[in-house]
Amino acid sequence: MANPIKILKNGIINENPTFVQVIGMCPTLAVTSSAINGIGMGLSTTAVLIFANLFVSLLRKVIPDKVRIPCFIVVIATFVTIIEFMLKAYLPALNASLGLYIPLIVVNCIILARAEAFASKNGPIASVFDGIGMGLGFTIALGVLGLVREFIGSGTLFDITVLPEAFPRTLLFVMAPGAFFTLACLMAALNHFRNKKKA
């Protein structure tokens, strides 16, 4: 079994789902209009990712190869729905801010990708760590995107005003095009540092 720390680092840095693998772009671009939205989406995805990875890994020897994708989808959708019910029933405050994104997690391809590429080939403990690492990598990416967009677009950080009122806000950044601009700039900066390190 691979080193858990290595698996964590792999998810957060080396194979960061957003900046390196460039998967799960739909929620990444859509929900990062503020830092809190990005982190909320990231953390709910992490929760689903951990459970889905664990169960796919436990069932990996039972699931026949031919029907593995439908089986993975059933497992993922079941967890998402259970989490949605639980949030609605017992944590209404959290549901009010995250409720919108929970059903979106089913269609997030990061979860299916990790089930297929990692959990179906590795043991349950390694799979849980992979879920945590990938989830955190996704959360950090979404949080940073949200932070930048919120700061430039609304002049606030976590809903607290930081830019003086007189400073003009670039509203474009909280709209859809701003998501693309911010993601492109962050990715270019990261690639620059990575190339420099290699050279």
Binding site: S33, I63, V74, T78, M86, K88, A89, P92, V174, M175
Partner: protein, 179 residues
């Protein structure tokens, strides 16, 4: 073709789906009541926000729903809470309006919308919605000769909320005395 190759995957998929369905059924059963309670509580809280003086509300199921009005609730102090969905810039702007028995708005909240973030979305901020409290007769944005100061660069959203408030006022003026 080997029947085993076909039957085994099908049976496994069926079993996994059956277990998943059973789990979902159980969770749904357990959470149905708390969810209903939470929904009711949320609705009650938002109605209390637009009509602070009332303590209980009852939906008028036989009310005539004019325009974009979606529901009418009678408050225990004789006032009404109406939910309307006037068309905004990005779709329906769900607006909840409290109107007292005297035809004066006791409060207004935008409860759901898909307006532009940073622009029309500011309709959910107190600076905007508190302007409606105490208004009666007709409400309109300053551009249309009214008193409501619209959100900067979001006249369409501001007009939509005014339209919702107006529909609520008109409904109470037309039907309020009958109950």
């Amino acid at each position: 073709m080997n029947t085993k190759e076909v039957v085994k995957p099908a049976v496994v998929l069926l079993l996994i789906s059956a277990v998943a369905a059973a789990c979902l059924g159980a969770v749904s059963e357990i959470t149905a009541e708390p969810i209903a309670l939470q929904n009711e509580k949320t609705l009650n809280e938002s109605m209390q926000a637009v009509m602070p003086e009332a303590s209980s509300f009852e939906q008028l199921t036989d009310a005539e729903l004019t325009g974009t009005i979606t529901a009418v609730y009678q408050a225990d102090n004789g006032g009404y809470v109406l939910t309307t969905e006037p068309g905004g810039f990005g779709g329906a702007v769900k607006t909840m309006v409290g109107v007292g028995a005297d035809g004066v708005i006791t409060g207004l909240r935008v409860t759901g919308h898909s307006e532009t973030p940073g622009l029309g979305a500011k309709a959910t901020e107190p600076d905007f919605y508190e302007q409606f409290t105490g208004k009666s007769g007709s409400v309109a944005v300053t551009k249309d000769g009214g008193e409501i100061v619209p959100i900067t660069s979001s006249t369409i959203t501001s007009r939509a909320v005014c339209a919702g408030a107006q529909e609520a006022l008109d409904w109470v003026a037309a039907n309020g005395g009958a109950n």
